[in-house]
């Protein structure tokens, strides 16, 4: 089975400095592979290990500045290739930086068509930095494929379909979907493998292809359509920040309960 895994270089939100009321300093924060996308890569590789085929990772660079992000993207690609992907296709273009999810999906669809065919596309259900969860669904629509998100398990049967175990609302479901299809995975599906030294060294020899939008025959994102981010501001966290220190646990407990009662919480 030929599987494509979608990988986003997400902003490392843990390392992001944010001052309330100001814009978080996204240019200074590093990017790394979004964690849930690593689950998608792991699943893709384990499917190939079970049934054969290939794994190609696709990524569209979304954060600038491109000069800095390219280096991080190469590191990210190395990690994904070391996990067992066979090749990495990176769409890097100034015009795609900051593009909305519709454009990202269109770019991915073009890259998938150019380097396909694929039987299955796997992606994380969301990314740490945005958690919109929109790109896989948009991509499925763009390709005209069925879309099954939130997979906690994927079982590859014969006969051109896979079974997806997932939970939505108050129900657990097993969904059978015909291929080709787009599936998003949760963090529950597996534990991404940590590559070994040899695997990282060998990853350096695997193909990393960098494509521009014109390589894909795509114009830049058109004006007046979709979503434009006009500002990002850190929320003012209005937490009281009272630290309760006391001689004994009993005293601390009494002080806490008193504070909560006074605040009308209990």
């Amino acid at each position: 089975m030929d599987v494509a895994a979608l990988v986003k270089l997400a902003l490392d939100v843990e390392g992001l400095r944010a001052e309330p009321g100001e814009a978080p300093r996204v240019d200074q924060a590093p990017t790394k592979v979004s964690e849930i996308d690593l689950n998608a890569v792991e699943e893709a590789v384990s499917i190939r290990e079970r049934v054969g085929g290939s794994v190609t990772a696709f990524s569209v660079l979304n954060w600038g500045p491109l000069s800095r992000r390219m280096r991080e993207a190469r590191e990210a690609a190395k990690r994904v290739l070391a996990m067992g992907a066979d090749r990495f296709v990176l769409v890097a273009d100034e015009a795609a930086v900051g593009a909305d999810t519709g454009f990202t999906a269109a770019a991915l669809a073009a890259a998938l068509r150019a380097r396909g065919p694929f039987d299955l596309v796997l992606a994380g259900e969301g990314t740490e930095d945005s958690f919109g969860g929109l790109v896989p669904g948009r991509l499925a629509q763009e390709l005209g494929w069925p879309y099954v998100p939130y997979a906690d398990g994927v079982e590859v049967g014969g006969g051109g379909s896979v079974r997806v175990r997932r939970a939505v609302g108050d129900f657990e479901e097993v969904v059978e979907v015909d291929l080709p299809a787009v599936i998003s995975v949760t963090q529950e599906i597996n534990k991404p493998r940590i590559p070994t030294l040899m695997q990282i060294l060998q990853a350096g020899k695997k193909p990393l292809e960098v494509l521009s939008l014109s390589d894909l025959g795509l114009p830049g994102p058109g004006a007046g359509r979709g979503v434009r981010v006009s500002s990002v501001v850190s929320p003012r966290v209005e937490r009281r920040g009272v630290v309760i220190e006391a001689e004994s646990p009993r005293e601390a407990a009494e002080r806490l309960v008193e504070e909560l009662r006074r605040a009308g919480v209990i």
Binding site: V13, I36, S130, E172, R225, V242
Partner: protein
């Protein structure tokens, strides 16, 4: 007239979305249509109808808890009417269908929306990004799909005019997409109260050393009249609690009156799922743990000493 279509699997949330839709359309509800999945008798129609929405679209054959069948109903209506806005709840069903619908409409989409502002014919959407470290303002062109976080808008109320004015439209089943088949379906196992609905949530983190020690968290929850949740490692890595009970950006999002985080360090992925808690209490040994800075009240103490004392005080014991 700007037109909007509203859908939520939960009828109460529908009323919130109707309020949100009135902001998107610029005030009036005439252009707002409500999709109800499943059988809708007079009883079910009464409240939404009295809000003043334009039309109520009933897809009797659709199951509001089945995302694929909801998707089918939404597509049937959208393909025919091409509304300017589609408003959904930002839950798993809403997020599942939002992307595809937006691409179908050839428009924008935003999920996890926390606020809407309409000015001069353009709509600005506020949404939580960067793991809760940022609120993005996004200008959205029509058509657009907006998935709105629960509890962000007041429920629409009955309008002054005579109730039951909304036109009811029956939507035919366009037929299933046979490429996707649900072969098994059963209610999820839960350990008690739904965390999403709980007024008080006690969250257990890695500070608990053994599974049996969670007893302290359950006792505290009982004394406070609340539910117990956990951070991801306790559920996913250690399996101490069932899968529905971990709190975080990709797990359950909670918005209780009071959250007591016990032995929780306060990683971003967790905090982003609990930001809407009205009051946060942290119990942690480490005064430098991020949770301490993100809390209203922090008790720097060993949970094994502090929780028994707290439980006793709450129970009024001496």
């Amino acid at each position: 007239m700007t037109r909007a279509l509203v859908f939520s699997p939960d009828d109460d949330r529908c009323l919130e979305l109707i309020s949100a839709a009135s902001v998107a359309t610029g005030g009036g509800l005439d252009g707002v249509d409500l999709l109800l999945a499943g059988p809708a008798g007079e009883e079910r129609l009464r409240t939404p109808s009295s809000t003043g929405v334009g039309r109520i679209v009933v897809a009797e054959w659709s199951d509001p808890t089945d995302a694929f069948s909801v998707d089918r109903a939404l597509r049937a209506w959208i393909g025919r009417e091409r509304p300017d806005y589609v408003l959904l709840t930002s839950d798993r069903i809403g997020r599942q269908v939002a992307g595809g619908l937006a691409q179908l409409l050839g428009g924008g989409a935003s999920t996890e929306v926390v606020g809407l502002e309409s000015a001069g014919g353009s709509l600005t959407v506020k949404r939580m990004v960067l793991g809760g470290k940022g609120i993005a303002s996004e200008e959205v062109d029509t058509p657009a799909v907006l998935a709105i976080q629960p509890g962000r808008f007041p429920p629409a109320e009955a309008s002054g005019t005579a109730g039951g004015a909304a036109e009811v439209v029956r939507l035919e089943d366009p037929g299933a997409d046979h490429r996707v088949r649900i072969v098994e379906r059963r209610p999820r196992e839960r350990s008690g109260v739904r965390l999403e609905d709980a007024e008080v949530v006690v969250v257990a983190g890695r500070g608990f050393e053994r599974r049996e020690d969670l007893r302290l968290a359950f006792e505290l929850a009982e004394a406070l009249g609340g539910a117990v949740g956990a951070t991801r490692p306790l559920v996913a890595d250690l399996g101490w609690l069932p899968g529905s009970d971990w709190i975080g950006i990709s797990g359950v999002r909670i918005s209780p009156r009071l959250m007591v985080a016990v032995g929780v360090s306060g990683q971003m992925q967790f905090l982003a799922g609990a930001l809407d808690s009205k009051v946060i209490v942290a119990v942690n040994k480490d005064p430098n743990a991020p949770i301490v800075g993100a809390s209203d009240y922090a008790v720097v103490a060993d949970l094994y000493e502090f929780l028994p004392a707290l439980i006793e005080v709450l129970r009024g014991g001496r």
